[in-house]
Symmetry: C2
């Protein structure tokens, strides 16, 4: 571009922050792809399905669909379609909410709980393997920095 | 689960690594959502479109569709559909590759270059703003740790 640029672009660390963000994206994508491939190969399942199981596992009394969507870590995709298939597969059940005729609660079945626990243990091992070359001090430091991004 | 667990699960830092990975996902998703919203509001465009522009901007001589897909940072989605629309919008042009009758080269038009440069400058500013509370030393440290994940 030929226009004048804001004078502080180079000096205020914005280039450094942009490079950091691109690195964050690349590394996240790399880990996500590795985990997606392992889930597919070992369990014939997908990241969004795993993600749905993980959220419902933490809220064992069940969640409304809206709360489930809000909690998803990976891509939201078609949450309704994913849940429909997981109901067919017997991993999730739907239940009426007293006093709310429009919304339903979704919750893990016993089968869903068991299958998630098996996968979750292996998933934790995969993450540990993928991050094995990074020492715990470095992980703690990076964790703190990443948490600051959301003002935590 | 009632089965025996591998004895080193708790002690070898795998829980810490899992928590770090979940933090990484949350922070990445937070920044991605913020940038997606800003791109939509300010330019009526999407992250995948911005991503396509960014990749083609770095390879000004053009890329095959396969190389473009491989380079995408965000979700791959329907790259063909995205490129088709960007051709209609005059941001991208397609060109035959001599000696290769099946593949085409895609490359930015002059309009695509100009529009990307305007958006890229603002995008850099948004990233700088979103990461403004994190000091440069912390960013450098986290950058190094994230780079190690891919063995860089």
């Amino acid at each position: 571009m030929m226009e004048d640029k804001a004078p502080n672009l180079e000096t205020d660390g914005s280039k450094q922050r942009l490079r950091f963000w691109l690195q964050m994206l690349r590394s996240t994508k790399y880990l996500e792809n590795s985990l997606r491939e392992k889930l597919r190969r070992e369990y014939g399942t997908t990241l969004p399905r795993f993600d749905v199981l993980a959220i419902l596992y933490k809220s064992r009394d069940g969640l409304k669909m809206s709360a489930l969507s809000d909690g998803l870590m990976v891509s939201n995709g078609n949450v309704t379609g994913i849940v429909d298939r997981m109901v067919s597969d017997g991993m999730i059940e739907r239940e009426d909410i007293p006093g709310d005729r429009r919304a339903k609660l979704v919750r893990l079945t016993e089968k869903g709980v068991t299958e998630f626990e098996i996968m979750a243990e292996q998933h934790e091992g995969w993450v540990a393997e993928l991050l094995a070359d990074i020492n715990e001090q470095d992980i703690a430091t990076a964790h703190t920095v990443l948490a600051k991004i959301r003002g935590e």
